[in-house]
């Protein structure tokens, strides 16, 4: 069974969309609703973005609201900070999450600190969108999952949707959030699934996890591109009579600890799935919180199913060795059941 978020502010009408279309719809609604919203990045204007997330928006809202920048990620983020200071709501696109690194000085030194070091005289209502993750045989350095770097940065929120409806609802919440939000979009999910997406100004609250499936035996915690992988593993486990509770975290910062702890208290077993490198990944934070707050409920050690401590491999033939697949997750589920 699938529980959906409580929609707010929409009429009840829906339209079938891919995730990239849902993101485009959210940006369209945000631009129409608020003149302060400005979209910029590399190739987002005339071309509509390399994944077409901003397709048609420049034509609709003009070259001042939706514009191409020179190729310099530090300046894209730094300029967005300045625009926020002066009252705009910038929505910047970084072409791939793996190209975010030149901007880390702006992000770590300023984006997360501005409210704090001006005692809220200034705050930065900025959104940085970036496609992330693997599974589609991209060239080298196009499949990184750097979410833990951002989650480790005080003052910024991190949101990673796993469905078209969530992508729309969470993106509209992010754009309307008074603080900076990173919005990572799984490349694998852009066009691989469609679902009914509420029309209009649909919002999904930041900070609430989504219960994807309910079950009594194992809790699987995941987000973004790993949710469909976990769902497939859960379906296979159900065939074997194992009830798996799949939790889609949706938001890493702030994390919905209550939903995780409540589920683990029930199942007594936790598997955490991400496609990021193993050491010091966000999965480790989830594991630590479970260990701190629910260890008395655990019937088996926590298992992390993740990428490995090597750069993401571009080798098509063996990419799936690195990126968790349903078989690896199913094996982890079996492991905690058999402990």
């Amino acid at each position: 069974m699938t529980a959906t978020a409580t929609p707010t502010g929409h009429t009840g009408a829906t339209k079938t969309m891919t995730m990239v279309a849902a993101i485009n719809d959210a940006l369209d609604i945000a631009l129409a609703a608020d003149d302060a919203v400005h979209i910029f990045g590399e190739d987002v204007g005339v071309m509509g973005g390399v994944f077409r997330a901003t397709d048609g928006l420049q034509a609709r809202y003009g070259e001042e609201r939706v514009f191409d920048t020179p190729l310099a990620e530090a300046a894209i983020v730094g300029m967005g900070i300045g625009m926020s200071l002066a009252g705009l709501k910038p929505v910047a696109e970084i072409q791939f999450a793996g190209f975010l690194y030149p901007a880390l000085d702006q992000i770590l030194s300023h984006l997360g600190r501005y409210r704090h070091r001006t005692r809220s005289r200034y705050h930065l209502p900025m959104v940085i969108r970036a496609p992330y993750g693997g599974g589609v045989h991209t060239p080298e350095q196009h499949a990184d999952s750097p979410e833990a770097i951002l989650a480790h940065t005080p003052g910024v929120k991190v949101v990673i949707p796993s469905t078209p409806a969530d992508a729309k609802g969470l993106l509209l919440s992010a754009i309307n959030d008074p603080d900076p939000v990173f919005f990572f979009e799984a490349i694998k999910l852009y066009r691989s699934m469609k679902e009914d997406v509420p029309t209009g100004d649909y919002r999904v609250p930041i900070g609430k996890a989504r219960m994807v499936t309910e079950g009594d035996d194992v809790t699987v915690i995941c987000y973004g591109g790993m949710v469909e992988v976990a769902q497939k593993a859960a379906a296979a486990a159900a065939q074997a009579g194992i009830g798996v509770e799949v939790i889609d975290l949706r938001t890493l910062v702030p994390m919905d600890t209550d939903t995780i702890i409540t589920s683990v208290a029930k199942t007594g077993r936790a598997v955490i799935v991400t496609e990021a490198p193993r050491t010091a990944g966000f999965h480790s934070e989830i594991a630590a919180v479970i260990a701190e707050e629910a260890i008395e409920h655990l019937r088996a050690p926590i298992v992390r199913v993740t990428g490995f401590d090597a750069p993401y491999p571009p080798f098509t033939a063996v990419e799936d060795v690195y990126r968790p697949n349903p078989l690896r997750v199913a094996k982890a589920i079996r492991q905690v059941m058999d402990y």
Binding site: V77, M83, L85, A86, Q106, H110, P254
Partner: protein, 391 residues
């Protein structure tokens, strides 16, 4: 016994010829030194205070106001040293000797414009109205120094190098998109002009026609590394050429000249003409911070020649010679400035120390569950003493 692997204490820079025999280094040094004598630099007053360019002289009241602001800045710098030695101010970067570069430029702005200062630009921030008490609190590492007045668009001092430059582009662009004539001014040093953010910002500002005025204060030193060792370029204003924007080189110890060129740049930006890079050629006669010992990397002779170019003395001589100020009026002015400072110091002294849980304030508009939990931890750990006893 383990061998002593500590590096030898660095010696003051010897003349370039013996310091570095790499081909071209001596030539680069000579070219740099020659460029510092560049007579094409915009100058209004000669170092002796005599007028070089009558046509650039601002109105008399503007000249007097520039002098007043420079004296305010210098007073802050001088009192800051004393307060530091008394343990009443933390480590701060002095800027004495750079007043014309900071005051003459910032004075060309209004309170509707943005100012992005680095940690050494107290003089610029004070000129635009940053309260002295807040500035003292900032260098006392008090959160009261983080409270920025609502009617000012002076941003907190930038500690990382060059990050303020792209941000100034964003603020400037936002003003333009919102239909105002306001501009953004950002400061940087010669050291910062090696950072990528500096170059990216100049390029963005040009490409997007952002109303920015970029002030590059070439004070000769990036902590211990002289400008000539940071770059082969001898005229940093020409860095603008690479981005298709105007670059201006000005005598950074001549407040009337820095004011004149900055006014022009501000006007150009306001009227849609885009950004300008201004190199103010000045000198860091003071150490990097009050805790720095420049004798480890430079000799007294390096700074001595700049004493004769002092910006405050230069404008003072002009004002006295031109009959715009008497020594009696100056004495009154200095007394007013001292009184203003002492009142601000008393205000700063009155700011209470922060409480432990304040470190978690202002992270987000709404604290996350994690922050709420951590606040409870801090409160439990640092309960007031009487509460602790009761517990």
């Amino acid at each position: 016994m383990t061998p002593d692997t500590r590096p030898a204490a660095p010696q003051p820079h010897a003349p370039a010829e013996s310091q570095d025999t790499a081909p071209g280094y001596a030539a680069a040094q000579a070219a740099y030194d020659a460029a510092q004598q560049d007579t094409t630099m915009v100058q209004c007053l000669a170092p002796d205070g005599s007028v070089v360019r009558e046509d650039l002289l601002p109105e008399p009241e503007t000249r007097l106001e520039l002098y007043r602001q420079m004296r305010r800045a210098r007073h802050f710098d001088e009192r800051g040293w004393v307060l530091y030695r008394q343990g009443r101010l933390g480590v701060f970067p002095p800027f004495g000797g750079m007043e014309a570069s900071q005051v003459g430029t910032a004075a060309a702005l209004t309170k509707d414009d943005w100012l992005f200062p680095t940690y050494r630009d107290t003089g610029a921030a004070l000129t635009l109205g940053l309260p002295i008490a807040r500035t003292l609190a900032y260098w006392r590492t008090s959160p009261h120094g983080w409270h920025m007045p609502a009617d000012l668009k002076v941003l907190p001092f930038y500690i990382p190098i060059a990050t303020q430059y792209p941000q100034a582009v964003g603020a400037a662009l936002a003003e333009r998109r919102q239909g105002t004539r306001n501009v953004a001014m950002a400061f940087i040093g010669d050291g910062g002009s090696s950072e990528g953010d500096f170059h990216e910002a100049l390029n963005f500002a040009g490409a997007l026609n952002a109303p920015c005025v970029f002030i590059l204060q070439n004070n000769g030193w990036a902590i211990s590394v002289p400008t000539r060792a940071q770059t082969r370029a001898t005229d940093l204003s020409r860095r603008a050429d690479g981005y298709g924007i105007p670059g201006v080189r000005v005598d950074g110890n001549d407040a009337l000249a820095t004011y004149h060129v900055t006014r022009e740049a501000v006007e150009r930006a306001r009227s849609g003409g885009g950004p300008t890079l201004i190199e103010t050629v000045t000198y860091r006669v003071k150490p990097h911070t009050v805790a720095d010992d420049p004798s480890r990397y430079r000799s007294e002779a390096d700074t001595a020649s700049w004493d004769a170019k002092d910006p405050v003395t230069r404008l003072r001589t002009h004002l006295l010679n031109a009959g715009l100020m008497t020594e009696a009026r100056e004495a009154e002015l200095l007394a007013e400035i001292a009184a203003e400072f002492e009142a601000a110091l008393a205000e700063a002294d009155s700011y209470p120390e922060p409480t432990p849980a304040e470190i978690l304030d202002h992270v987000f508009a709404e604290p996350t569950p994690q922050l709420k939990k951590q606040r409870a931890e801090i409160l439990a750990e640092h309960a007031a003493p009487n509460q602790k006893e009761q517990a």
